[in-house]
């Protein structure tokens, strides 16, 4: 005869208070011992990583302010230059100039450039939150369901802060303890001797508590002297390295010495990121960037002697940007994550050419275009600062938005200029870990 039963009750009665306890396995203890041994030797969290990431965010902000001021200075400088230089009439001439002879004295010729946007894909592993007290409702073997129900109710009361219910649970502990192995009993009983000199609720729970404290080397006196509410600390998460691929594209503004007079560039690339330490992501990859920019001739450096001085130089640079960045996740909730990052980029110059603008003159005398033939390599010459917002679409795919700033640490390219770049990259992230089964 079938009877109607509540699904929740069926499972709650059986699973919340299992009569059959799982048998102890030595191999489980061996695993824990290994963890504890490793834990002793485990180095502390690399303290500079969060500091560096925080600095990235701050620099990103102050970088804007600083560059804004520089822009004003450059504007003034350019205006002075224009005012001083008289407009000269020159003959029309559009030809590639033989500057290579001069180039030889300069070594490898490359350009300053702009870059890719590294993407840091991090996975949410938030630490556990402090939840209401757990229902402790273990009882001895062979109890009836009715009794189980009563104890569960008592446990619920305890969860609400009812101290009286706690005594029931403590009794339950003592009963369950009686069913355990003799060896365990003997060991626990040993601790009872110590417990008798301390102020605890019941002898049984004291034994359990003291066993804990003895296990960790904590003195019973210290434990007993604790009075009042002590909040349980957050439990951490079991961390597993996470890997992701990101395809990104961005539009960016390039400027020499400022971001006030900028030219629009773009880039596209692919990044690989790995979260090897909780919340910290390391990422690398390659992006192809098109970086046009314009600079006053006074900022342009060349060994070639122009007969007539151009007013402006427009550069067309295309670089392969290889960044190496670290990111720190500062926010993660639901499907949204925010992280800040910093790192260094290396540039490989793929194309570098300059067009010279002589101003509003009818007749030009002088070179108008120069293409640099050699490819320069600039290792770790650009500092990257970025902030990334990521939204997970599903467990495999996410999209990201990443504003970034690239500040050159050295002069780059044939013209030896420092080109700052600010851009926003849009990325499509693919979580590689989705297909790997957890251990």
């Amino acid at each position: 005869m079938k009877t109607q039963k509540d699904l929740n009750d069926i499972f709650k009665q059986a699973l919340a208070d299992p009569v059959e306890e799982t048998v102890f396995r030595d191999k489980d203890w061996a695993m824990l011992e290994q963890m504890l041994d490793k834990g002793k030797k485990r180095p502390g969290i690399v303290f500079w990583l969060p500091v560096l990431s925080s600095a990235a965010a701050i620099l990103l902000f102050f970088g804007w302010l600083m560059l804004g001021r520089q822009a004003t200075d450059h504007e003034q400088k350019a205006q002075q230059q224009v005012a001083v230089a008289p407009v000269q009439k020159v003959q029309p001439q559009v030809a590639a100039v033989q500057q290579s002879a001069n180039n030889n004295t300069r070594g490898a010729v490359v350009h300053s450039a702009i870059t890719a946007s590294p993407k840091t894909l991090t996975q949410q592993t938030k630490p556990a939150q402090v939840e209401p007290a757990y229902l402790a409702n273990n009882t001895g073997a062979g109890r009836s369901n009715v009794k189980n129900n009563l104890q569960q109710k008592e446990a619920v009361n305890m969860q609400r802060g009812n101290d009286a219910a706690g005594n029931q649970l403590e009794n339950a502990i003592s009963e369950s303890k009686n069913t355990r192995e003799n060896e365990t009993l003997a060991a626990v009983n040993e601790t009872k001797v110590i417990a008798s000199s301390t102020t605890v609720n019941t002898p049984d729970i004291a034994a359990a508590d003291i066993a804990t404290k003895q296990a960790t080397g904590n003195s019973t006196d210290a434990g007993a002297s604790k009075v009042g509410k002590v909040t349980i600390k957050k439990a951490g998460s079991s961390f597993r390295p996470l890997f992701a691929l990101t395809v990104l594209a961005s539009s960016e503004q390039n400027g020499v010495g400022s971001l006030q007079q900028t030219s629009t560039g773009s880039n596209i690339g692919m990044m690989f990121s790995a979260e090897l330490i909780k919340k910290f992501t390391i990422s690398t990859g390659a992006t192809y960037s098109v970086k046009p920019y314009t600079l006053p001739f006074t900022d342009y450096h060349t060994a070639y002697k122009f007969k007539n001085t151009p007013q402006y130089v427009t550069a067309d640079c295309r670089v392969l940007d290889i960044p190496l960045n670290i990111g720190y996740q500062v926010y993660s909730k639901y499907r949204n994550k925010i992280s800040v990052g910093t790192g260094l980029s290396s540039y490989i110059m793929m194309h570098e050419s300059y067009t010279y603008d002589y101003g509003t003159t009818d007749v030009l005398y002088g070179p108008s275009y120069y293409a640099v033939k050699s490819r320069g390599k600039y290792m770790f010459s650009i500092m990257n600062l970025n902030a990334t917002y990521e939204r997970q679409v599903n467990s495999k795919v996410g999209i990201s938005l990443q504003p970034y700033l690239k500040v050159p640490l050295t002069s780059i390219g044939y013209s030896q200029v420092k080109v700052e770049t600010f851009g926003v990259a849009v990325g499509l992230n693919w979580n590689i870990n989705t297909f790997t089964k957890p251990k």
Binding site: K5, F24, A187, A211, N218, I232, S238, S395
Partner: protein, 199 residues
Amino acid sequence: MKQDRKSQKVLYKTFYGFSMAICLRYAGNRDEAAEVMNQGFFKVFTRIESYDADRPFKAWLGRIMMNVSIDYYRANLKMAYAEDLDNAEHIYDASVATDNNLNYNDLLAMVQQLPQGYRTVFNLFAIDGYSHEEIADMLNINIGTSKSNLFKARQKLKQMIADADASVNYNKEINFTPVVAMNGANIKPAFYNNKGIRE
């Protein structure tokens, strides 16, 4: 802080069954449960200073085991992706008709067969007594997702119970004919000619 390994082992063995019972509910199998449980004990041994001696140790331990189970869920299944039921209050008949007294192992096996997202929500709601709001907060999911996962978990469990009932009834009703070993010497072969007529 001094780490007395011998005492740690005593404590571990004493509360092994209790802790494992919690982790088994949240994990997919015994080995996974053991891994999660060890994470919990690692925290117990390394963060014992956060334990309030005035409170029952078992309750504290149980909380830790549940938290590490949830952390494991979060680490390995970052997105328990399910449609939200925010706009539709789900009315679901949580009762099931059964004449079968399923034991602990049967029910545990059923729960472990659930997908991780469903299993975690079902455990938190049905067994540990948390509300959908609390579960959503714990797991970083929407309330609608929590409701959806619970709904689907119940559906699957109901089906499993029904299957278990059917299996028991089948075994009761069917009379099996025993297979008797045959002696090859007693078998007389039949021969047919090319017209299909037995000779």
